[in-house]
Symmetry: D2
Subunit: 87 residues, 4 copies
Amino acid sequence: MLPEVKKNTLRRLATIRGHLDAVARMVDEEQYCIDILHQIRAIEASLENTKQVMVEGHLKTCFTHALAEGEGEKAITELMKVLKSNR
Amino acid sequence: MLPEVKKNTLRRLATIRGHLDAVARMVDEEQYCIDILHQIRAIEASLENTKQVMVEGHLKTCFTHALAEGEGEKAITELMKVLKSNR
Amino acid sequence: MLPEVKKNTLRRLATIRGHLDAVARMVDEEQYCIDILHQIRAIEASLENTKQVMVEGHLKTCFTHALAEGEGEKAITELMKVLKSNR
Amino acid sequence: MLPEVKKNTLRRLATIRGHLDAVARMVDEEQYCIDILHQIRAIEASLENTKQVMVEGHLKTCFTHALAEGEGEKAITELMKVLKSNR
């Protein structure tokens, strides 16, 4: 894992954790559902961005190496499973 | 907020928090990106389910009251903003 | 179905159809995958917007009537199935 | 573009077109919004699958060539833009 990807990802996860705690407090205080829902959407977006950072890091390292070593087929299958939208 | 929605949501948020900490540990230990990505996808799915629980609670309470009091237009506009996929 | 929702939706679907035909031509001419993928993303966004128009129309009509007639529980369950992200 | 990806994609796009026409008919006949919404969701899923087929084809061909020719950086940036969820 690239050092900057590791650092960037850990920083993002820490932020998401703080955001998640804030949402739990909002629920505990029974704030307005719509406001809480907007915060959950924001967390989803942050999580999606974190995933993108990690996918990009993967493409630059493990994936590139796999292709160079003729392991492309396996690496692509593996990657496609992760890329498939959660849907 | 319905008591069961509050309880259910807080329980789900606590689980997601634990899951998020586990992912941060995986990143810290530099585990395989693809494995980490699968875990992030799982968290996204849990978050989406949590959102559904809260939307359903909202429809059953605040939204229903708003319609009954002739505040439908405003309630619908507000709800649509939250429902718009993050995309 | 509200007349303006019907008209708006049919217009959007016709546009999406034209866009889809354009993408098929791009594939047939073997244009660059990345360019084709951007067009498919644009169609997904148009489809999502069409869905929003229809959900909003549903909330304003059938859903509001169902709540007024004490059929809220059923209407909410039905709506939640459609709202669940495809994920 | 790999011949099987081209064929597969064109076949999928033709199916989606037929599905889209069926939805337009449902709207024109003012069928129940919820039923129409379920069909739109199904089209979204088909479109997403079509995108996956094309991304996989891209990874196996253009993307692999780009990496082999030292054009990885550019190819990754380009791919990431397409992968970013529409959200």
